[in-house]
Amino acid sequence: MTEEAASPHDRRLEPISKRRLLSQDTGLVLVLLALAVGFSIYSPYFLTTANLSNVLLSVSVIGCMAAVSTLLIISRGLDLSLGSMVALCGMLTALTVEQWHWPWPLGIAVGLLVGALCGALNGVLIAGLRINSIIVTVGSLAVFRGLAYLIKDGQSLLVESSAILSLGSLRFFGLTVSVWIFAIVFAVVWFFSAHFKTGRSIYAMGASPKAAWISGLRVLQLRFGLFVASGVSAGLAGVLLIGQSGTAIPGSGMGYELMVITAVLLGGTSLHGGEGSVVRTLLGVLIIGVLNNGMVLTSVPSFYQIIANGALLLAAVVIDQIRNGAHKGPIES
């Protein structure tokens, strides 16, 4: 393919960042391998096909969101309401399918649509009124969580639809449907980011929102669209989650946003905007998956697991800050 020669991965096009990418990729792969080797020494169950496919299944939920959040963070946005949207969308899909007996495709569509609406609410406040995305999504996080509890007065909903349950159990070529969906989402988002004009515009607006605006890019529309996409990804994650667990729980998904942000930052996407890659986020997602799975297998107490996940996020932020030289910069960025 002739275009391949001049894609953004062409060495001539991005020689400096490319060189850094390589070393960064190697670093991530090494971390992943080290974790895998470590856990397989401590637990005989780690390196089994069943367990590895389990790891993939367990990260498929946050993975779908991490793919979209990579673009969001590249554009200098942050969505902290992901976990609440997961619960809300999962509850509504379960409600429509199990209680109202709607056909399952319609129920899934409701989940995705509600995700889009939640994202649109975030987007209107952030792009329309220019409010900081962290503040907006901290607020909407509570609103969405409250709504999720309201649906069944705090009760969970049992999922019995075989179609939805098959998301977490039906296998093709050894991998569950959830994992395939996760892979497709990643492929689509990556392809979009690397080969579509809108994708590159997201990098431009992240690198310099004002320069992008003056160059005629529709920065506000893009920002709005990204939050809608983030909501849809959370809706999808909510559907996958109820399919995997067989229950829609209004309190589910708590802390998922932190795992998503950790995965994205581990993958080298910068909080400073304009820089990052969807492919490397995948490595970040896998590291989180392997770490959590390994900690369960080696029976690390769950409180320590929480600490480990938080420490990983902090480590990712520290690395980002140092890599950008921002730790030596002015007092605040």
Partner: protein, 489 residues
């Protein structure tokens, strides 16, 4: 010697920014520090003000070694630096900014009357017109610059480093600043004056040190100072004669604006621009010329009774509409609004061109790279390749990209603010040529500047502004620095 720099070298990943530099500064002298961007001036200043530590060499103040190295240490030792980037708290008052970290106290509480009185003295000393209790954020950029200088005065110190202090100042205040600098010199202060403006050097400097490629290449005393010698030292060759060739006879009217008004700064302005001309807007600070380009580009909200702009008859509401109407904008703050510094040359050039590159929503990378390389070649942008980050280029090459990224669009007008601000002497003719090239292809350039030299060397016609209105119009060959100043004052 008040300040001695002995054998100082500094290296950044692969680049020798300073190479064994030795120089000395006396008390009571103004020493100009000259050199192209990238010559090592900024690095030297940052070492002197404690931001960087030299790899080798020593710095002596009154014979005592300045230990490496902290900002506070340098300040305590008597070195005060006024950087190009303003370091003010916009939500605090002028007086609080002036005495930041050293507010006068009485019985443990802030002595507000004394703060006010001392601040007003300092402002009086530099000839500022605003009061001490106004918030810094309410001041324009050039008044903020004055606050910075006043703060350096307030903090005392024996050695004052001014890094391009006049870059943001209109001519009237340049004069006042130069007077202040002379007064400080006469009071026995050592002034290190960094600038690109040779006129100012010739007016006030007692000595000039020229850096090139990290080395000291000249140390001229007052008697040796003249423009051509300095230029030769700075760029390492003789300056080609200016490229102000005769332009095409101005053609049809491409832009017409009537009764343009913007906030209170621009009251009422009507004008037209013709194909093939470079139209300049010149005025002192607050005269309103700074609103013209942002208003036409859809960046600032403005009103007009009648507009003719391509197919539009109203002012554009945002940059995207302006581009559709055939107007590109090169803003004054190149590093924030003109370019995305962390992206590559190629992606910056592609930014306004995404819509016209290829037909669908997919990117044709080959077309993008071809476009970038075409532009790089035509405008002689010096970069290692189109994938290099824009942040790594010199100011002149950055500005070439900010201008040339528009060149592949079918634009009729180019709105350019202060095109050679922060651009070294050697690269200026090429920036001028780039703008002239646009006009010669049948478009027009609108150029707003507070630097009369820049306007005089480039514009075919100049509208001079005062108090938000046009006060006179000059055409070639009547456009000179003197005639511009006479009209603006």
């Amino acid at each position: 010697m008040a300040l001695e720099v002995i054998g100082v070298s500094k290296r950044f990943s692969g680049v020798q920014a300073l190479d064994d530099v030795t120089m000395a500064f006396r008390a009571g002298e103004i020493c100009a520090l000259l050199g192209e961007n990238g010559a090592g001036k900024s690095t030297l200043i940052k070492i002197l003000s404690g931001l960087y530590t030299a790899d080798t060499g020593r710095i002596l103040i009154d014979g005592a070694v300045l230990e490496p190295s902290s900002v506070v240490g340098a300040q305590t030792a008597g070195i005060q630096t006024v950087h190009q980037e303003l370091e003010l708290a916009p939500v605090l008052s002028v007086e609080e900014n002036l005495f930041m970290g050293r507010l006068p106290l009485v019985a443990g509480r802030v002595d507000w009357p004394r703060l006010r009185w001392e601040s007003e003295q300092a402002l009086l000393q530099i000839g500022a017109k605003f009061s001490a209790d106004i918030l810094v954020g309410q001041l324009g950029v050039s008044d903020q610059q004055l606050v910075e200088i006043a703060r350096a005065l307030v903090r005392g110190g024996k050695i004052l480093i001014l890094d391009e202090p006049t870059a943001a100042l209109p001519p009237a205040e340049v004069k006042r600043l130069l007077d202040t600098v002379l007064r400080l010199r006469n009071a026995g202060m050592t002034i290190i004056y960094v600038t690109h403006r040779l006129n100012e050097v010739l007016q006030i400097a007692d000595r000039a040190i020229v850096l090139r490629d990290g080395r000291k290449v000249a140390d001229c005393t007052r008697d040796e100072l003249n423009r051509s010698t300095l230029v030769r030292h700075i760029i390492g060759r003789d300056l080609e004669t200016a490229t102000s060739c005769d332009s095409l006879a101005a053609g049809e009217i491409l832009l017409k604006v009537e009764h343009l008004a913007c906030d209170s700064e621009l009251q009422d302005l009507s004008f037209e621009a013709k194909a093939g001309e470079v139209l300049g807007f010149f005025g002192l600070l607050g005269a309103g010329q700074a609103c013209v380009a942002p208003a036409l580009a859809g960046v600032r909200h403005a009103t007009s009774s009648a507009v003719l702009m391509g197919s539009r008859t109203t002012l554009p509401a945002n940059p995207s509409e302006a581009i559709d109407a055939g107007l590109g904008f090169v803003p004054i703050d190149r590093k924030v609004s003109g370019l995305a510094l962390s992206l590559s040359v190629m992606e910056n050039i592609a930014m306004p061109n995404w819509r016209s590159l290829g037909s669908g929503s997919r990117i044709e990378w080959r077309a993008v790279r071809d476009l970038a390389e075409r532009v790089i070649e035509r405008y002689r942008v010096k970069c290692s390749d189109s994938g290099q980050k824009v942040a790594q280029l010199s100011g002149g090459n950055q500005q070439k990209i900010a201008i040339s990224k528009w060149s592949e669009l079918p634009l009729s007008g180019l709105l350019v603010e202060e095109p050679t601000r922060g651009v070294d002497v050697g690269a200026r003719p090429e920036i001028y040529a780039a703008l002239r090239q646009h006009a010669d292809r049948g478009g027009y350039c609108i150029l707003t500047s507070s630097d009369p030299g820049e306007i005089a060397s480039l514009a075919d016609r100049v509208i001079v502004m005062r108090n938000g209105r046009a006060v006179s119009q000059l055409r070639r060959p009547d456009i000179t620095e003197a005639s511009l100043m006479a009209a603006a004052l």
